[in-house]
Amino acid sequence: MIEAGHFLACLSLTLSLGLAYAGLRGDRGLAGRLAFGLFAALGLSFLTLINAFLTSDFSVELVAKNSHTLKPLLYKFAGTWGNHEGSMALWCLVMAGFAAAGAQWMRSGRPDFEARALGVQGLLTSGALAYLLFASSPFLRLDQPPLQGADLNPLLQDPALAAHPPMLYLGYVGYSFVFAMAAAGLMEGRIDRVWARSVRPWAMAAFVPLTLGIGLGSYWAYYELGWGGWWFWDPVENASLMPWLVGAAFLHSVVVTEKRDSLRAWTALLAVMAFCFSILGAFLVRSGLLTSVHAFAVDPTRGALLLAGLLAYGGGALGLFALRAPHLQGGAPHLMVSREGALIGNNLVLSVATLTVLLGTLFPLVAEAFGQALSVGEPYFNLTFTPIMAVALIALPVVQAWSWGKADWTLVWRWALGFLAVVGAFMLAGVALWEIPLLSGAGFALGVWLVFGAAREIWRRAGRVDRLWRFPARVWGMTLAHAGLGVFTLGAVGETALRFHTTLALAEGQSVEVAGWTVQLDDVEAIEGPNWYADRASLTVSRAGETVLLQPQKRIYPAARMPTTETAIHSFGTSDLYLALGDRRTGEGAARWTFEIFINPMISLVYWGVCLIGLGGVLSLLPRRGSGADGGRAAG
């Protein structure tokens, strides 16, 4: 079976080289057919890999190293991409999938351009496939298959982690198609309104899964690692944040190109850079260059190959860009105070934020090369990234009302007063009522300001209730995404400012008061799952009129010889009471168990915010309704 998969993958490489050739020569019809063929061949090949995992075929090296007969079916299935080779196969498959989707749904009215985009996508897929086949083949057999596999890293045996890599890859790899369209546009020297209109949906199709993928990864880290936090500014997290930031910048600048035919060179550059940052992320994660708690498949030689790929593709595209950029001037003129100015400001902030994340992530490496060992973590990003992003968030409700070309500047003072009033009120209330630092009060004000700003903007455009429902989905998408930013900000500030954490040691039957809750340890029992055994604590947690049973576990996966913490979370309102089971301590008297207990206020707003941003993206992908003129009028 796996040999058939291997053969199909080799066939795919031939097909994708053919796609590159046909596409770059401008044969749209043939390129389309080859793209479908490529996707079908690679899809079948991937199915043989999934089959090997589902049937626990340990004669396949990859399965023997990463699976186990006792593993639940879902994780056998998801285990296919829970390792380096399998995830690279998924990477190639998604690339081919975007080629096929592009062949089917690209609508630019320019067959030459579409053929070239497919051709570049074929070129990118060929590189990825060559890397898969020659440097990290998942199709290798073992001479002497073992009777049992070594099991998947138990941290990855989790529903969120089953869905997280495919989502993240849809995003990362989705930008390959944006890259391909940018390269095709640059080859023709036609980066214009038609180009912008045809690229935007594809950039959105990458942005939405990337957003949700990062959200899922963060949620997984929150409940699986047992540390109570949701973002650690870890190099692997930063690697996924950078393409997201560049992608967000692109979604804003492409609007300027689409509506006003200006900012063309910059938009093309961002389209190229989003995918470069995706490969850079894969390189940083897979090379083992940076130490991380999330890195699961590390190999320096593969890193070198990924770096070579990044330099070849990135360098090629940037060379092309340098050649064409001087001819990409023009478009409607505008002043600084205009919608163009606002979107350029957005791009300035997002670009500097991206570079800040890059700087903070790579700086320890550079410093090490100069013989200086240092660490860059949360405090650095909180003091650099956060205030720079805050500038954009403060400005957003004000500048999104600005019109194209030249906007009314005088209203800004009224907005500034409004903002200061909101901030002042929240700072006062924060200090007087909630006893939080001034800055946290300002953070809450910012979240409320953003949600209010989103609502205000759509109301300004509508003016009447019945008009709200006649807006194009795209306007609603933008409103929801911006409101989502506000909701996210509220959650992030609330969690940071109000969180509570302590470590307890409890004997069975003992109870203790923590932050208004009574926590009682009923018992701790040994339980067994399909491929693990665990200590499971049962705790009765109660406060006035509310009693819940929480059962955190500490699991051992014998096949992988690794422990994991299974936290127990009780959500009340938007907050979580979060329990992680620690060690058993024997000393004087009865044995005690340690617990990490966290109260994480407003944490669910972080995830709701991310979902809203994703939902906004989905909405803006919906096709325009028939009466486009009416929508345009209403939006004016």
């Binding site: 708690v293 500097v352 860059v376 973590g377 650099t384 019109s403 194209w404 194009p472 470590t503």
Partner: protein
């Protein structure tokens, strides 16, 4: 002698619950623990790590907080002992510190300055107004 032995057995268990009584001091200690790196782990602050040395380092932070040391003095103590590597908040001083902390703000201000200068000329205003006159509905989505 026996007393000492018993004490040394009990000590680790006592240590677990040894959070500081003053909530403000404990919060300060926890904030510090989030920015001090465990020297035996991959990339974790001592607030998260389960390793023994991290537990010792946490105890040291709480000790120093309760003895009235300032945040800065506690950070300096750890840097003197383990090197700058131990802080997730890299030092501000020196060439590397200046570059690391200054560059983001420099880029932002330089970018904003360049954009504003580029848009500040009179002919541009005339041009925009001419275009606006041609298309009275100058706004879109």
């Amino acid at each position: 002698m026996i007393k000492v032995l018993i004490l040394s057995c009990v000590w680790p268990f006592l240590q677990v619950a040894a959070t500081l009584d003053d909530p403000a001091a404990e919060a300060r200690a926890q904030d510090l623990m989030r920015e001090i790196r465990c020297v035996a782990c991959e990339n974790e602050p001592i607030s998260q790590s389960g390793s023994e040395i991290a537990a010792d380092m946490r105890a040291r932070v709480r000790d120093m907080v309760s003895q009235g040391y300032s945040d800065e003095e506690i950070r300096d103590w750890f840097v003197a002992r383990y090197g700058a590597f131990v802080l997730f908040r890299p030092p501000v001083g020196g060439l590397s510190g200046g570059l690391l902390w200054g560059l983001p703000f420099f880029l932002f201000l330089a970018g904003a300055g360049a954009l504003i200068l580029q848009r500040r000329n009179g002919s541009l205003i005339d041009e925009v107004e001419a275009v606006a006159a041609d298309h009275p509905d100058g706004s879109g989505e």
